[in-house]
């Protein structure tokens, strides 16, 4: 379409709205039938044996006519934006400034021009939209939303990112989780530059192998060279769970990764202790409620809560590590697990083993974890001492050793009827049963 700018010689015609909207300007003098175009009228006149004249496309340059839209607020009102086609300007005016009388039932789209509406209705709902990735959609809105986030669309971007990320593998994990738990304000926007990437398992593996190893070094360094084994194993435990969680993206699925569930199930107290040093909990009536924590190497207690505090260091390591369970165990073995505290070793290993030996030493247990009852329930129900003690130690475990939450297992057959409290009932194997949450 020639704009007026291109052809300053063109004649600018401004028709009135009435004229534009008029559908049948060309009338047959014989029968009065109206036609939208002169050409059609002429052809009609043939039928009346009237002289007719079809206007040919003349070879000479016809005087170009351009039409402006009568609507003052419209961009096409200005001669520089006039349209060169009469039909075009008529449709434009009708569509843009006309009343949209025609509405599609299915999608509620509205049309001013009936032919537009008809054409739409024929295909509405029947059309299928195909994304570049191959997926078909029957609904336009879900197609559009999908497309915006589809990998096919972002292919280019991803390739660019991957290239820049190979050099950034070590920092990616740390930055990702550096943000976690803190508010940094708008300045964090800067950190977004090309460091983040979609987490894909390929990249993860590369990252984690490297950063997992560095974690070992870091921990040892930060602990002054000779960290208690327990600490490291605890870290390992967390790393394994952390990594696995990333891969499976599901904190509560345990079927595929016992350690993962182990980490999660600490909340509900279902970690198992397979340590032979732990005694029967049923001797809990003798649990010294007021014992303070004595013979526990302090790093344990310090490090446990810190796992869930805002220590960025922790988090960044956690995020980027994904040692497999096997690797963890191997590491544990390498570290020379001296069973000074088999509890911790056990909590990592015990997960995978079967669960038929859980008698714990109530006293030692309590001593390890401390036993200041904080639960209201405990205080108020002195008569149910078994339950109370269990609950208190339960609570302690939660507070001090989330990762070491032992799963207190009572053997019903030997216990008689001391099994009222729920602590004693979880005989479930980790894999399917940890789904039940805290047992």
């Amino acid at each position: 379409m020639l704009k007026n700018m291109a052809d300053p010689e063109a004649e600018v015609i401004a028709l009135s709205p009435k004229t534009l909207m008029a559908t049948n300007r060309f009338l047959c003098e014989i029968c009065g039938k109206g036609f939208q175009r002169d050409q059609n009228l002429q052809l009609h006149r043939r039928g009346h044996n009237l002289p007719w004249k079809l206007r040919q496309r003349s070879s000479k340059e016809p005087k170009k006519r351009v039409y402006v839209c009568p609507e003052k607020s419209c961009v096409h009102n200005h001669p520089s934006r006039a349209l060169g086609d009469l039909t075009g300007i008529k449709k434009h005016f009708c569509r843009k400034h006309g009343e949209k009388k025609w509405k599609c039932e299915k999608c509620s789209k509205r049309y001013a021009v009936q032919s537009d509406w008809k054409a739409h209705s024929k295909t509405c709902g029947t059309r299928e939209y195909r994304c570049d990735c191959g997926t078909l959609f029957s609904r336009r809105d879900s197609f559009i939303t999908h497309r915006a986030f589809c990998d096919a669309l972002a292919e280019e971007t991803a390739r660019v990112n991957a290239a820049s990320n190979i050099s950034n593998t070590m920092t990616t994990g740390s930055l990702n989780y550096h943000l976690m738990g803190t508010s940094h304000g708008p300045s964090m926007v800067q950190h977004f530059s090309s460091i983040f990437k979609p987490i894909s398992s390929n990249n993860e593996t590369v990252d984690q192998t490297r950063s997992g190893l560095s974690l070992w070094r870091d921990i040892q360094e930060s602990q002054g060279g000779n960290p208690p084994i327990n600490n490291n194993i605890q870290e390992m435990h967390q790393i394994g769970s952390g990594g696995a969680v990333t891969l499976y993206s599901d904190p509560f699925s345990s079927c595929s990764n016992p350690q993962q569930s182990d980490q999660m199930s600490w909340v509900f107290g279902s970690n198992k202790l397979s340590s032979p040093s732990a005694g029967e909990l049923t001797s809990s009536t003798s649990l010294p409620i007021g014992t303070t924590i004595k013979d526990v190497p302090s790093p344990h207690l310090v490090s446990a809560p810190s796992l869930f505090s805002t220590q960025h260091q922790q988090h960044q390591h956690l995020s980027s590590a994904s040692m497999s369970a096997t690797a963890l165990l191997q590491k544990a073995a390498q570290m020379g697990a001296t069973s000074t505290d088999p509890l911790f070793l056990g909590s990592g290993i015990g997960v995978k083993s079967n669960n038929n030996n859980y008698v714990q030493d109530g006293n030692k247990y309590n001593a390890l974890f401390g036993s200041n009852p904080t639960s209201n329930i405990v205080r108020n129900n002195q008569e149910n001492s078994v339950a109370a003690d269990d609950l208190s130690s339960w609570n302690q475990m939660q507070m001090y050793h989330p990762a070491k939450r032992s799963r207190i297992q009572k053997d019903d057959r030997t216990e008689g009827e001391q099994t009222r409290d729920f602590l004693g009932v979880g005989v479930q194997t980790i894999c399917p049963s940890s789904m039940n949450g805290w047992m």
Binding site: I144, H184, M188, G242, V245, V267, L318, N376, N381, Q398
Partner: protein, 411 residues
């Protein structure tokens, strides 16, 4: 008791051999009673409220036996609420929530989030309802403007915007310039916003819409965000989009946030929230529990009907609920300024707050038609009741129950 214990070895066994324990004062065969979960859960909540230790013990144990996140609706509700009840009983809610949050943040990736959200939008209008209503209101309010700036304070991960971009692209002759500033408060969202931003930019280019994308790592102190921090400029037409966002603001800060929004001088503010009240009863555990149970029962049932039984996406959505439920029921504090909240309020409650600074805008007939057409595209059960005269906003109902509320406001 022995029977119950012997079943522990394999939870896959059907638990129909449950016999009544001599200690059970509840119905003798809980599983056969329809909707057993709500009864036991309620009783447990009451026991916790009344500090009845042995009853708490017993009920928690029973719930643990019967619950399963993979079972039917009752079993799922039992499972997810059990965690919260346990945390409440042992005052471990805050710790638990923190852990769950950090785990989720580690495990969520762009791919997994995208999968879940898009699938959810495909099978249920729970979220798209709000998107369509809000986009319609935004487009109408900003009609004729050339520089648009949308402040997106939401948890939609930008899934609301592709259709808006398309509408902008196809609507007028002059496609306006759109600047989108996303204010992110969810921890997990921060790590994937970069990816989302890139996708949005690329898509906007495809649509031919001049586009700018910004992310503000919102402190939870939304009330203190300034125009400068948000990048608001004088010549822009502002729209503020709050979808599922107001509930995340701590209860004490909500009025302040409304004032802050007003100070931005927006042309329109769109608010979408789920229809539940966890706020007015926040000091009454049992009452709050009842409301939680009511709402999540609806939600879980809805999920069950909309998704296929084996859907992983549904599982992930259900797990999200765990965290929310723990937050509402088992966490101490959290109502103070700057703390993350999940205390939902009903539409009329939000209206009270919003009316202090804004006037409601009725959705045009066109937008209402769009919403109706949207609902037609989903399975039966969803409807849009005609707005009553005194109503502000639209309610999405599922099986006659209002579940989501959408509204639009102007200064």
């Amino acid at each position: 008791m022995v029977n119950l214990l012997s079943m522990h070895n394999n939870i896959n066994e059907p638990q129909t051999s449950h016999t009544s324990s001599s200690r059970s004062s509840e119905s003798s065969n809980p599983l056969e009673a329809k909707k057993w979960a709500s009864k036991i859960l309620r009783d447990c909540a009451k026991a916790i409220s009344g500090n009845d230790s042995s009853k708490i013990n017993h009920l928690l144990w029973m719930l643990n036996e019967l619950a399963s996140p993979y079972g039917d609706c009752d079993q799922k509700l039992a499972s997810h609420f059990l965690q919260a009840l346990f945390c409440k009983a042992f005052e471990s809610g805050n710790q638990c929530y923190k852990t769950l949050t950090s785990v989720v943040e580690r495990s969520h990736s762009f791919e997994s989030s995208r999968k879940v959200i898009l699938k959810f939008q495909e099978v249920s209008p729970w979220t798209t309802f709000g998107h369509v209503a809000s986009n319609g209101a935004i487009l109408e309010a900003l009609e004729g403007e050339t520089k648009l700036h949308i402040l997106d304070i939401s948890n939609t991960f930008c899934t609301q915007w592709p259709t808006l971009l398309e509408a902008l692209a196809t609507k007028s002759d002059e496609t306006p310039h759109l600047k989108l500033t996303v204010v992110v408060t969810l921890g997990m969202a921060r790590s994937i916003m970069k990816e989302i931003g890139q996708r949005m930019e690329k898509f906007a280019r495809l649509m031919g819409v001049p586009f700018e994308f910004h992310v503000v790592i919102g402190s939870l102190r939304l009330g203190e965000l300034t125009r400068e921090e948000l990048g608001v400029q004088e010549d822009e037409a502002i729209a503020v989009n709050c979808v599922g966002a107001l509930q995340r603001i701590s209860v004490e800060e909500r009025d302040e946030v409304v004032r802050m929004l007003h100070a931005l001088k927006p042309k329109v503010v769109t608010v979408v929230e789920e229809e539940a009240d966890f706020t007015s009863s926040r000091n009454d555990f049992v009452k709050c529990f009842e409301e939680c149970l009511r709402f999540y029962t609806l939600y879980f049932e809805m999920l069950e009907e909309c998704f296929v039984p084996t859907s992983n996406e549904r599982l992930m959505l259900e797990r999200e609920c765990s965290r929310s439920i723990i937050r509402v029921l088992a966490c101490e504090g959290g109502d103070g300024v700057g703390e993350e909240s999940e205390r939902r309020e009903r539409g009329i409650q939000w209206c009270e707050k919003l009316k202090k600074s804004f006037t409601p805008v009725r959705y045009s007939d066109d937008v209402v038609d769009d919403v109706k057409a949207l609902l037609k595209r989903y399975r039966a059960g969803w409807s849009l009741p005609p707005a009553q005269a005194e109503d502000t906003g639209l309610y999405l109902t599922w099986k006659e129950e209002p579940v989501v509320w959408a509204s639009a406001w102007k200064p």
